[in-house]
């Protein structure tokens, strides 16, 4: 089965050095690109989505050449891709494999669900404290209301 998945992954060609972000929920691939600001990226970038996955049914994958993310940078995607695996590639070889972690603070990327929050009425970057990592509950630094689960949307 693993071989099967590997073969399918290879439809998107391998990279020499860089980071592979695997097991992204298909519907959130473009959100990940946005959060990591990859649309501005100047090096080789390979994006696959709606690929078959034994684990997830369908999945997305992003391969970023010549880029190694800091953990605070990459953990931002945990909100949209909690299942993501990070694979560090050096000289075509996997040197590291990690899971993303939900960060303690979330800045700028999430929209406060409270329409009466000042951040939805003025140009203010949002800030949240993650108060529950399992159920994903974020407390707004400004209005103090809790944005959780299905209410989480991205700016």
């Amino acid at each position: 089965m693993e071989k099967e998945e590997l073969r399918k992954e290879l439809k998107v060609s391998a990279i020499e050095n860089g980071t592979v972000i695997d097991h992204i929920p298909s519907q959130n691939v473009f959100q990940v690109i946005k959060i990591l600001n990859l649309s501005e990226y100047q090096n080789q970038l390979l994006i696959g989505t709606n690929l078959d996955s034994t684990k997830m049914g369908k999945k997305g994958i992003i391969k970023v050449s010549n880029k190694f993310f800091r953990s605070d940078e990459i953990n931002k995607i945990a909100l949209v891709a909690p299942s993501a695996t990070l694979i560090v590639i050096k000289n075509f070889k996997v040197t590291e494999k990690n899971k993303v972690e939900i960060p303690d603070y979330v800045e700028k990327i999430v929209k406060c669900f409270n329409p009466n929050c000042i951040t939805n009425n003025e140009e203010i970057p949002t800030k949240f404290t993650v108060i529950d990592k399992n159920e994903l509950k974020l407390r707004c630094h400004y209005c103090e209301k809790i944005t959780a689960g299905g209410n989480i949307t991205f700016k």
């Binding site: 406060c112 203010i124 103090e144």
Partner: protein, 303 residues
């Protein structure tokens, strides 16, 4: 507390709350002291709130400060489309402290991050109104002699009332037993009950007001607003169930006091007003002393 902004009741520690209450006691005895004669206080009211604004302005004026500001957004540059950020940046050049009232939640926190001077939140939408909480604490302490180990009953709209939420949070520092009386539709939100549970304190919930009157040290009444009900019939059903009448206070503890953040509509009948247990008008007066204490402490003229 010098130069410290007060946006949320939890921005100040329990010790700082107590210090403000002690200072307020001094200002109650000597309300007219010109200790802020060299200071300018700006009151920026982006929505009208006559009671709160006058209370702040009275506090500042009695201490000799000059007060500048506006009373609603229509008479300010907001009308021309200026952002809150720009208004705050500009005004903080003209004053030593900003008092802000704004209809959007989180506006006061944002203002405190932008301003070069300390900010006191005088109400940000449905979020926080910490000076109300401090005057409630002052009123409780003054009438009971302590804040510790009291039986405090909250009655009415416990779901939407921000004064209730902040006061419950503040009282969690004093080993309070909470009695929560409300219609089922307007129970205290679980986000607030979490604070009670975190401190291992006890709360009891009731739908019938008469059950609790004999046990309570403080009866904190609130207004039930019609617009909180999707079905007007539900409102009609509950509106008379949470009305305090004078006869209901027979058999209450001698130290019981009735508090209400005001304005009152019909949830306390006027025959209660002459009962020595009625404290809500004195409670409003206490707001001036508490605000004097805050202005003086934040501007650093008292320790």
């Amino acid at each position: 507390m010098k130069n410290k902004s007060l946006v949320s009741i939890n921005d100040f520690t329990r010790e700082e709350h107590i210090r403000i209450l002690e200072l307020a006691g001094i200002f109650e005895k000597h309300p007219k002291q010109r200790i802020l004669a060299d200071y300018v206080v700006a009151t920026l009211f982006f929505e009208p709130s006559t009671r709160t604004r006058l209370s702040f302005e009275s506090a500042a004026t009695r201490l000799g400060a000059q007060v500048i500001g506006f009373t609603d957004a229509a008479s300010s540059s907001v009308q021309k489309g200026e952002s809150l950020r720009d208004t705050i940046l500009t005004v903080s050049n003209y004053c030593d402290l900003i008092v802000i009232r704004h209809p959007k939640e989180g506006s006061a926190r944002f203002a405190s991050e932008v301003a070069k001077v300390p900010v006191i939140n005088a109400g940000d939408g449905a979020n926080q109104h910490p000076t109300q909480t401090l005057l409630d604490l002052y009123s409780i302490r003054k009438t009971q002699g302590t804040l510790d180990n009291l039986q405090i009953a909250f009655v009415g709209d416990l779901k939407y009332g921000r004064t209730v939420h902040s006061l419950v949070m503040a009282l969690c520092n004093y080993n309070t037993t909470f009695h929560l009386v409300s219609p089922l539709e307007l129970k205290l939100p679980s986000a607030v009950k979490i604070h009670i549970k975190e401190k291992n304190l006890t709360y009891h919930q009731y739908t019938d007001l008469s059950e609790i009157i004999q046990k309570a040290d403080i009866l904190y009444m609130t207004r039930i607003q019609k617009e909180r009900f999707s079905d007007p019939l539900d409102y009609e059903k509950v509106k008379s169930a949470y009305v305090l009448k004078n006869s209901m206070l027979d058999g209450a503890k001698p130290n019981l006091r009735v508090l209400h953040p005001l304005p009152r509509v019909n949830e306390i009948t006027t025959d209660v007003d002459d009962n020595p247990k009625a404290y809500y008008f004195t409670q409003a007066l206490n707001g001036v002393f508490v605000r004097q204490a805050l202005l003086a402490a934040i501007l650093g003229v008292v320790d």
